[in-house]
Amino acid sequence: MTLSRSVNAQKAVKLDFQVSAVCSMCEERIEKALDVKGIKMADYNLENGHLEVVYNPKVLSEEQVHQIVADAGHDTEKIKASDEVYNALHDCCKYRENSVKKCED
């Protein structure tokens, strides 16, 4: 699901993959986690669970992008978040549960 495009003479790569999340608080967490060097753009779509990331492959690898998201507590197609990080999430963000309580910020 990857495709590359040339931007400003510098190769930026666009990724689009599935990430588990349930609320706008999760969305903010994922996008904030990706505010690091090498990432041009990160946009999570809560409706379909797709995360779009544009990154510079000279700085980061695709694997590392997944790792950043998993480290924030959200499962990606490739890497599952550790239970420790997952358990630390706000109750309303516990996407692995069937019943999610009170999704307020």
Binding site: V7, N8, A12, S20, A21, V22, C23, E28, K32, D35, K40, M41, L46, E47, N48, G49, V54, Y95, E97, N98, S99, V100, K101, K102, C103, E104, D105
Partner: protein
């Protein structure tokens, strides 16, 4: 603007299918200072479908899961919608947050200025984040980072700020606080500085005629100031400010929960300037000496049980300003010709009550009432001129909102209003006395055809006791060409009656002889009410550039007066007010570009062109002191937030203002003449903020960093009692560079 029904609600006939899966849960609501209560009759539905239900008397619901379920929406009148992704949950409990009555959006973490593709009215929302960029101090200074509103000074002596939209004075823009018309009558200029910035939650700047529901007075725009109210204020908010000119301000705001349904907010503001300063060496103080006190108490009532909600507030203002020659002391020098000085006291008491009732069994139906009353007393002297003014007003507005048919595609808002204004002003031997009683009725129909097209058509009829019947038709339409491009059209008529002295208070800081329709003393004749048509076209396009959000806006507006009060300063030493006899118009074009080139960096570039001309006795001329060209830019940067929520914020606003026409001074002796055109100039404001944590931040900033000053803003400053004295021909900054610093301390409201 004031809409009691906002949310998309479901009507009775909901399709029944059989689904195997069911989600159950409770919907409750919370308002700051109130306990969370369950919401009865809240709508729960699948996004983009007609499938839904409402909560029962215990706030519980149960909803079937359709095959392609993705997002589930929870909504209730007066609360923000919550949308939750469906991930096979079997139970979802939500707590909706209350928002301000009559307002479509809640201001939380969001962009500093928002452009809406969906709202048929061309409205920009200036959020608290944007307001924080212009750290000083009150409403008149809150538009520094906005390209659509111009700020200027009335004269070179009194330090009074005024605003303009579409090249026309602020008096043609209807000002509202919490959608109740305010800052009108004698307060059109001084009233702007009586709303402290830290009390403002957000400002909605609407270009063009606006809605009919708040009266006939808007022509170039409607600016609504959403005040901090019990439902959105912090528990404690303290702001202190000081600048190089000696101005000091202290603002405090305290939230007091009373019981389940009631909460109240107490606010106090004090401003002080005791420093006499003359940086440009003209012998006059650069900034007025000032003392003011403002108190505000706002109450909010909201009951889930009865369906009633209400907002009530009272504000008291006491202002004392002194300015003029450096050693002027009002107690010693008032009324004599030793030193020229200005002294003003402004006392104002204002209250409003808004009560709404939402019919629980009939979704989309509501009734609202608005009552407001205002008492203002002004006493001033400007040199040897002696002024006193009294304005008492009362306004009632009754609104009824409902829908036509089963869906909310066709809705209407209708009502009756009554406006009472009693004016009494005296300036030496001139007096202006007028009582206005204006009953009116309005009807506004909204058609939401689909996602792409919305139209608002409104009309109001007002029967003015002194003038004829005012008929104000207004139309707004929005069409989305694509998902990210919308085009908006607006056309409509507005009216206003004028109070020439307080609307042009700058001329009192001159020796110009005032005449109204040729009359120079006694009871002054009523001038015709001002009438104008306004037409607007807006194109908004949002797109991505280098993977980052960008937007372009193009605005074209024309205002055409059929009646207007002309202020004619074309003869030195005189100012004449008379009814327009000929044409008067303003054409305005603006292009604005917003982009985030790098993360956490926002860029705004704008260019605005204006042509404002009218017929004077001496011919058709450009309106004086209004520059044709303005280039505006704003660059804002924010550092990444640390775990402790600390960050840096920096923003800089450079702008270029083109030259403008100065009224002729050729009849004066040579030493008292000015050139016919002003210089163009550059203004740069910048500010740095350090956020230490969510409770505490400090800022340091500078205004007019390039230290540009209008040369000789006062004609005959050395001899202010001769007939050539004139401080009203101001087109640029009178004060040079101004450094300021301040702090903000806040304790957020408890979540529940």
């Amino acid at each position: 603007m004031r809409r009691l029904i906002l949310c998309l609600l479901l009507s009775g006939g909901i399709a029944h299918f059989s689904f195997s899966q069911v989600i159950k849960g409770t919907v409750s609501g919370s308002a700051p200072g109130n306990k969370t209560e369950t919401l009865i009759g809240a709508a729960v539905y699948w996004q983009g479908t007609q499938l839904g239900t409402v909560t029962d008397e215990n706030g519980k619901y149960s909803i079937n899961v359709p095959p392609a379920a993705t997002m589930i929406v929870f909504s209730y009148v007066g609360f923000t919608n919550d949308t939750i992704a469906y991930k096979n949950q079997t139970e979802i409990n939500v707590v909706l947050k209350a928002f301000e009555m009559g307002e479509a959006e809640v201001i939380a973490e969001r962009d500093a200025t928002e452009l809406s593709l969906m709202n048929p009215l061309n409205t920009q929302i200036i959020t608290e984040k944007e307001l924080a960029k212009a750290a000083c101090c009150n409403l008149s200074e809150s538009f520094e980072t906005n390209a659509s509103v111009d700020a200027s000074y009335t004269d070179a002596v009194t330090g009074t700020a005024q605003i303009r939209m579409l090249g026309l004075d602020g008096k043609y823009t209807q000002m509202m606080a919490d959608v109740v018309p305010q800052i009108r009558g004698l307060a059109v200029i001084y009233g702007l500085s009586a709303i402290p910035g830290p009390w403002i939650n957000s400002i909605q700047v609407g270009k063009g005629v606006g809605s009919v529901t708040n009266g006939f007075e808007s022509i170039t725009g409607q600016i609504n100031v959403s005040m901090k109210n019990p439902e959105n204020a912090e528990s404690v908010y303290i702001n202190a400010y000081g600048n190089q000119g000696g101005r000091m301000e202290l603002n405090g705001s305290f939230l007091v929960p009373v019981n389940k349904a009631w909460s109240t907010l107490l606010q106090a503001h004090s401003e002080m300037n005791n420093t006499r300063q003359d940086m440009n060496g003209d012998g006059f103080m650069d900034n007025p000496l000032k003392r003011d006190l403002i108190f505000r108490n706002a109450w909010k009532y909201q009951s889930q049980v009865t369906g009633f909600q209400g907002e009530y507030q009272v504000t008291g203002t006491l202002v004392e300003n002194t300015s003029g020659q450096l050693d002027y002391r009002n107690s010693e020098n008032a009324g004599n010709a030793n030193l020229w000085g200005m002294h003003l006291t402004d006392q104002n008491l204002n209250a409003y009550a808004k009560t709404g009732y939402v019919f629980k069994n009939s979704i989309g139906k509501s009734i609202g009432t608005q009552f407001s009353a205002n008492h203002q007393e002004l006493n001033a002297n400007y040199g040897l001129r002696d002024y006193s003014g009294l304005h008492q007003s009362f306004r009632a507005n009754l609104l009824y909102a409902s829908k036509i048919g089963a869906t909310t595609d066709h809705t209407f808002l209708t009502g009756l209003s009554f406006q009472y204004d009693d004016y009494s002003e005296n300036l030496d031997s001139l007096s202006f006395i007028r009582t206005e009683r204006v009953p009116g009725a309005f009807f506004e129909y909204t058609w939401k055809h689909d996602e792409r097209f919305t139209m608002i058509a409104g009309i109001r009829v007002d029967d003015h006791n002194l003038f004829d019947v005012f008929i104000s038709p207004r139309l707004h339409a929005r069409y989305s060409i694509t998902e990210n491009t919308s085009i908006k059209l607006a056309a409509g008529k507005g009216y206003r009656t004028s109070n020439i002295l307080m609307e042009h208070v700058g001329i009192l800081a001159s020796s110009r002889v005032i005449d109204v329709n040729g009359q120079q003393s006694g009871l002054m004749p009523n001038l015709n009410p001002e009438k104008a048509w306004n037409f607007g076209l807006n194109l908004t396009k949002k797109f991505q550039m280098n993977y980052r959000d960008a937007s372009v806006l193009i605005d074209l507006y024309r205002t055409e007066f059929t009646d207007q009060v002309i202020i004619d300063m074309e003869t030195a030493g005189a100012v004449s007010f008379y009814n327009l006899n000929g044409q008067s118009y303003s054409n305005s074009a603006q292009i604005e570009f917003n982009w985030t080139p790098i993360r956490r960096v926002d860029v705004r570039l704008s260019y605005r062109w204006l042509e404002v001309r009218n017929q004077f006795n001496s011919g058709i001329l450009d309106k004086p002191m209004i520059s044709r060209h303005r280039v505006f830019s704003n660059f804002a940067w924010e550092s990444k937030e640390t775990a402790k929520k600390a960050k840096w914020k920096f923003d800089v606003t450079p702008q270029w203002i083109g030259s403008s026409r100065i009224p002729s001074t050729s009849a004066n002796p040579e030493e008292y003449r000015l050139s016919n055109r002003s210089d163009d100039f550059v203004l740069v404001h910048a500010q740095l903020t350090r956020v230490f944590n969510s409770a505490f931040e400090m800022y340091l900033g500078g205004e007019n960093l390039g230290n540009f000053r209008q040369a000789n803003p006062i004609i005959s400053a050395e001899n202010p009692f001769n007939s050539y004295f004139d401080a009203s021909l101001v087109w640029g900054p009178v004060f040079g560079r101004m450094v300021y610093a301040g702090l903000r301390f806040k304790i957020p409201a408890p979540v529940k």
